[in-house]
C-alpha cells in the first residue's frame, strides 16, 4: 500500500461523503471518527509503549463529563474543551505516576481499578454529576469568524468539524510516533531493561505517553458529549475501555493505521447489531478472542508481517517479536 496515495484518496472520499445525502452514513462516520481518536490514544500507550492500560474508557467519559458540565454552566464549548483536556491530563498524570511502576498485568489491573473508581465517583456523586439521571441538552459547539457565526448543530456541519479534528489529531499522533519521543517509547516496549541502561528515564516517558493517550480520549469524549447531547455515567465504564482495546488489538497494536481499521470493525459491529443489542457483547467478545488467537498482531500487523516475509520492509516502529 502506498500511503501517499491512499491517505489523500480516503480524505477526498470522506469530504465527499455528505454528497450521498445519507444522514445515517454521516452519523456513523462521525461516531467512527470520535472512537478512532480515543483508539489512537490507546495505541500510543498499548501499541507503542507496551503498557496495557485499561483506563481509556474512564478518560473518555471524564472528558465528556467535564466539558458537558462546563458547557451546561454557560461556558463556551472551546474553553470547556481545553479545561476538560487539561483536567483529564492532570488526572492521568497522577494515575500514571502511581501505577506505571507496576509491570504487565499488575499495571492493567491497577488501571482497571482506577476506571472503576472514576465510574463510581461519576455515578454516585450526584450533587455534581446528576448521577444516573445523566446530563441532557448539551448544546452544540459554534464558532465565530469575523462576525460570522457558524453553528455545528447540523449532522453535516458536525461531520466536517470532526473531520477537521481527526486530521489535527492524526497529525499530532503521527508526530508523537515519528518523533524521537516515539523511538524512545518503542525502545521501552521492546526491552525495558536495555532502555533503562541506555539512560532512558522510564517513569518520565511512560507517564508522558499515558498522559498523551488520555488527552486523545478526553478530546474524543468532549466531542461525543457535544454531538449526542446527552451522557450517562455508563460512558465512563470499563466496557468502553474494552471496546477501545478491541479496536486497537484487532486493528493492529503498534501500527499507525491499526486504530482506524480496528475502530471501523468495532463501529460496524455496534451498528449491525444495534437492533440486537443483547448480542453486541457476545459478538465483540468472539471477534476479540479470534483476533488474539489467530491474528495477535491485528489486521495491520499481520499485513506488515506478510509483506516482510515476501522481502518487504517492516515499518520502523512495528512490533518485532510476538505481541
Amino acid at each position: 500500500m502506498n500511503w501517499k496515495i491512499v491517505c489523500p484518496t480516503i480524505l477526498v472520499l470522506a469530504l465527499l461523503l455528505p454528497l450521498t445525502g445519507s444522514s445515517y452514513a454521516i452519523r456513523i462516520s462521525t461516531l467512527f471518527i470520535i472512537y478512532t481518536i480515543a483508539a489512537m490514544g490507546l495505541n500510543i500507550i498499548i501499541g507503542y509503549t507496551g503498557q496495557a492500560s485499561l483506563t481509556q474508557g474512564a478518560f473518555y467519559g471524564l472528558g465528556a463529563y467535564v466539558s458537558a458540565l462546563l458547557v451546561l454552566n454557560g461556558w463556551s464549548f472551546w474553553s470547556s474543551l481545553v479545561v476538560a483536556v487539561a483536567f483529564v491530563a492532570a488526572v492521568a498524570f497522577l494515575i500514571g505516576l502511581m501505577t506505571l511502576r507496576l509491570k504487565g498485568a499488575y499495571f492493567a489491573i491497577a488501571t482497571l481499578l482506577f476506571n472503576v473508581i472514576i465510574y463510581e465517583i461519576v455515578d454516585k456523586w450526584d450533587e455534581v454529576t446528576r448521577g444516573p439521571r445523566g446530563l441532557f441538552g448539551i448544546p452544540s459547539p459554534a464558532i465565530e469568524i469575523g462576525g460570522v457565526s457558524i453553528s455545528f448543530s447540523g449532522t453535516q456541519n458536525f461531520y466536517y468539524l470532526m473531520l477537521a479534528v481527526l486530521v489535527i489529531m492524526t497529525v499530532l499522533y503521527w508526530i508523537i510516533i515519528k518523533s524521537p519521543f516515539g523511538s524512545i517509547i518503542v525502545a521501552i516496549r521492546e526491552n525495558e531493561l536495555l532502555a533503562e541502561y541506555a539512560g532512558v528515564n522510564l517513569t518520565k516517558f511512560k507517564v508522558a505517553s499515558f498522559v498523551f493517550s488520555a488527552i486523545f480520549a478526553s478530546v474524543a469524549g468532549a466531542f461525543y458529549s457535544a454531538y449526542i447531547g446527552s451522557i450517562f455515567p455508563d460512558i465512563t465504564s470499563f466496557v468502553n475501555s474494552f471496546a477501545f482495546l478491541t479496536a486497537v488489538i484487532f486493528g493492529g497494536a503498534g501500527t499507525l493505521a491499526g486504530p482506524f481499521v480496528g475502530t471501523a470493525v468495532v463501529t460496524l459491529i455496534n451498528e449491525v447489531f444495534f437492533t440486537l443489542a443483547q448480542y453486541t457483547v457476545l459478538i465483540q467478545g468472539i471477534v476479540f478472542l479470534l483476533a488474539i488467537l489467530f491474528m495477535p498482531k491485528g489486521v495491520m500487523g499481520t499485513y506488515y508481517s506478510r509483506k516482510a516475509e515476501k522481502g518487504g520492509e517492516l515499518p520502523k516502529r512495528a512490533i518485532m517479536g510476538k505481541l
Binding site: 496495557a52 482495546l245 467478545g285 468472539i286 488474539i292
Partner: protein
C-alpha cells in the same frame, strides 16, 4: 446495648458469608495463576455461568426444594468446571508460548464472550434459585438465616478439603510441584498439561460451588460475574497472586470490611471505599500483603 451487639454480630456474619464467596472465587484465580502465571480475568464469568446452570437445573428438577437445590449445586459445579477446562483447551493452551500479557488480553476477550453469551441466551433479567434453607435459626438471642449458616459451614468444609487435597494427595502434590517449577515437574515425570487441566477444573468447580451457595441470596444475572471478578481478582493481588492462604484471608477481610462499612456508614460509597483500599494496597505493596518481594517484575 444487647441489640447493638446482636446487630454487630449479624453484620459480621454477613461479612463472613460474602467473604467466603470472595475467597472461594479468589482461590480459583490464585490456583490458575500458580500453575500458568496467567491472571485469568474471565474467572468471574465461570461463576456466573455456574449460577445460570444451577438456575436451569433447579427449574428442571421440579418442586421438591431439597432435590432441586442439590441439582442446582451439582449443575453449577459441573458447568463451571467444564467452562474452566474448555477455556484452557481452546484459549490458554494456544497461548502458552506467548507473553503473559497476551493471555491476559485474551482473558478479557473471554470475559466479554461469556458475559455476552449469558446476556444473549438468558437476557438481563434477574432469576431466582430457591433454597430449602429459607428460614431463620435461633442461635442464643440471634436470628440467623439458615442459608447463611449453610454457606459458612460448607465453605469452611470445602477449603479444608482443598487443603487436604493439595497437601495429602498425589495429584494435589503434583499440582503444587507444577506451581513451584513447571520444568522440574516435567523432569520428574509429571504430566503438566493434565495437571493444568485439573487446576482449571478445580478452579471452575470452586467458582460454581460459590455461585450455587450465594445465588439464593443475591439472585442470578449476567453481570454478577463481572462484579465479583474484579474484587476476587484484586483480593488475589493483595493476598499475593498464587498465594492460597493470602486469597482466603484477603477474601474474608474484604467481605467483613465491606459489610461493616455498609452496616454503619453511607452505603453509597461502599464500592468506592473497597476499590480505593484495594488500589492503595496494590500500589503501595505490589507484592501483596503476604507475598514475597518479587511480584513487581
Amino acid at each position: 446495648m444487647m441489640i447493638e451487639i446482636n446487630y454487630f454480630i449479624n453484620v459480621l456474619i454477613g461479612g463472613l458469608v460474602v467473604g467466603f464467596i470472595y475467597a472461594l472465587t479468589a482461590l480459583g484465580i490464585t490456583i490458575i495463576y500458580g500453575i500458568l502465571q496467567i491472571p485469568d480475568f474471565s474467572h468471574g464469568n465461570r461463576y456466573m455461568l455456574g449460577a445460570y446452570a444451577g438456575f436451569l437445573a433447579a427449574s428442571i428438577a421440579g418442586n421438591m426444594l431439597e432435590i432441586s437445590y442439590i441439582a442446582a449445586i451439582l449443575a453449577a459445579v459441573a458447568v463451571s468446571a467444564l467452562v474452566g477446562v474448555l477455556s484452557y483447551l481452546l484459549v490458554y493452551r494456544r497461548l502458552l508460548d506467548a507473553p503473559h500479557i497476551t493471555s491476559f488480553i485474551a482473558a478479557i476477550g473471554l470475559l466479554m464472550l461469556l458475559e455476552g453469551f449469558a446476556l444473549a441466551v438468558f437476557g438481563p433479567r434477574y432469576q431466582h434459585i430457591h433454597t430449602p434453607f429459607d428460614y431463620m435459626v435461633l442461635v442464643g438471642a440471634l436470628r440467623i438465616s439458615a442459608q447463611r449458616l449453610v454457606i459458612l459451614l460448607s465453605s469452611i468444609a470445602t477449603i479444608a478439603f482443598l487443603f487436604y487435597f493439595l497437601k495429602r494427595t498425589i495429584t494435589g502434590i503434583a499440582l503444587e510441584a507444577v506451581a513451584q517449577s513447571p520444568i522440574g515437574a516435567r523432569l520428574v515425570g509429571i504430566n503438566t498439561d493434565k495437571i493444568t487441566l485439573i487446576a482449571f477444573a478445580i478452579a471452575g468447580a470452586l467458582a460454581g460451588f460459590a455461585a450455587a451457595l450465594i445465588a439464593p441470596i443475591t439472585l442470578v444475572y449476567p453481570i454478577m460475574g463481572a462484579e465479583l471478578n474484579l474484587k476476587a481478582f484484586v483480593i488475589c493481588v493483595v493476598g499475593g497472586l498464587g498465594n492460597i492462604p493470602g486469597a482466603i484471608a484477603g477474601g474474608l477481610v474484604l467481605g467483613i470490611v465491606e459489610s461493616i462499612y455498609g452496616g454503619y456508614f453511607d452505603i453509597r460509597w461502599k464500592n468506592l471505599v473497597a476499590f480505593g483500599i484495594l488500589v492503595a494496597i496494590l500500589i503501595l505493596k505490589p507484592e501483596g500483603l503476604f507475598g514475597k518481594k518479587e511480584r513487581r517484575a
